[in-house]
């Protein structure tokens, strides 16, 4: 892949807001901003009245919202992580999308689905097809069977049409490989079997600070750069990156990474570029889907998460 500006590789992050306090977020993003990274920060636009999945902040809190708006003005992309940190019906999801536009001026281009919410689209066992679904349900003891409802028109949590109307990219499979483009060379792709999502993208597993640092070790970054690849990190900056001070390993790593000849842009800018390289269209073929699903299941067997 040839990257703009003579860059050797591409790197970005989608940061899920789980467990991220305003205090921790400010510290992490002060570092990223100074080093020149412009990544994607996921948000919950509203608070909702249900039982929250964790103590992360939402845009319903004025101070948190102001800080996120400042990030947007600095060049960070603001992405969606469902309407809020618990399950929403259609009405609440619609409110979340409206609030997002009110706060940030545009609809979310990029989103990642929150594990806790059952209004997710094509999630749980619906992420995979056929025999792979059977295997997935066996591996998960059926816990995620038919657990997501966002793509079912008759269900009160349906919002697939709104997703297709407002959101361009939705995260799906996460792999242990640092070079996400090697793990999923088709991204961003449209899956005709999952028509409510315009395009899917994949990510590199880095949910907490430890796998994040491991995925971005010097050896892995050397290889990413040598391959001219692209890395979209999946992480939660609220989980271990700041504990009264920035995690020293994280600070060192990002400082070293910033010195490399990388294209550091938000997720949507990277995906837009990849899509443009394919003439604006990328439809997943059945064989490609089988291959992706098989490798993701293998990842799940090995790592038990993501």
């Amino acid at each position: 892949m040839i990257w703009p500006g003579g860059k050797s590789f591409a790197f970005t992050i989608f940061d899920d807001p789980d467990s991220q306090t305003l205090e921790a977020g400010r510290e992490v993003y002060a570092l990223l901003a100074d080093l020149g990274f412009r990544t994607t920060k996921g948000v919950w636009p509203i608070r909702g009245s249900g039982t929250p999945s964790d103590h992360g902040g939402t845009c319903a809190e004025p101070a948190y919202r102001t800080w996120v708006q400042d990030l947007q003005r600095e060049g960070f992309e603001i992405g969606l992580h469902n309407a809020t940190l618990h399950t929403s019906d259609r009405q609440q999801t619609r409110l979340g999308l409206e609030k997002f536009v009110e706060y940030f001026g545009v609809s979310p281009i990029t989103m990642a689905q929150h594990y806790y919410c059952t209004e997710n689209i094509y999630w749980g066992d619906q992420r995979v097809s056929g025999l792979h679904r059977l295997l997935y349900n066996a591996l998960t003891r059926g816990h995620n069977r038919n657990r997501s409802h966002g793509h079912i028109p008759s269900h009160p949590e349906f919002w697939g049409d709104l997703c297709r109307q407002h959101v361009r990219y939705v995260r799906n499979f996460t792999f242990a490989e640092t070079n996400t483009l090697r793990a999923c060379p088709y991204m961003p792709y449209h899956d005709p079997d999952r028509p409510y999502v315009n395009y899917w993208y994949a990510s590199a597993e880095g949910a907490t600070v430890e796998p994040f640092l491991d995925r971005l070790s010097d050896a892995h970054l050397d290889r990413l750069e040598a391959e001219g690849g692209a890395c979209i990190m999946y992480t939660h900056f609220g989980l271990g990156f700041w504990d009264n001070r920035l995690h020293a390993g994280f600070s060192d790593l990002m400082t070293r990474l910033a010195r490399r000849n990388g294209w550091f842009v938000p997720v949507s800018q990277l995906l837009d570029y990849l899509l443009a390289q394919r003439g604006g269209q990328s439809v997943l073929q059945p064989g490609q889907r089988r291959e992706l699903e098989r490798r993701w299941l293998l990842h799940k067997v090995r790592f038990g998460n993501a």
Binding site: L31, G36, L134, L135, R256, R259, R290, L298, G304
Partner: protein, 180 residues
Amino acid sequence: MPDKPSWYGRLEQVIVELDNLPWPWVDRETLQSLLRVGPRRAQQIMRPCVTRQVGANGVADRQELIAHLKRLATGDEAHYERRRRQKLAQVLDGLRQAALAQPKVLVKAPTTVLSQQFANLPDGVSVRPGTISITFSSPNEALQRLLALAIAIGNDFSEFERIATAEIETTTGVGTAGSL
């Protein structure tokens, strides 16, 4: 949009200004002004060099701070390597704890399963036109055999189609306690 911190390119001037300070200590406001960064980032940068408290705030030793800024801007890999080695035991311990804390692998299977083919499917796995049969003697064995079959299909889908639609049977062994 900056590619690198803008103060990297002004480091020499920043050092001159630090050297010209009338005292050997640097506070956060001074560093923030010199680097033209926000208060949080200034605090982050100076934190490793803070050796003295003035009231509620820490101040950094000027010479340590200058050396630290040079390392940040120029990339003293030897320094990072030393720090990495010093932290090795700590990191290894952290990785071990992370591995222990990671969710259990749901199916224990040999790595050879990745190259699974139809010709060597495990005992008890049978594919015929219109029928897939898996016999097993324990739940884990059932999952292992399901995994082997799924990977064999993924590795050679055309062979699966051929077997599943032709009058050819691939059968290996028979289990005893249950079937899927």
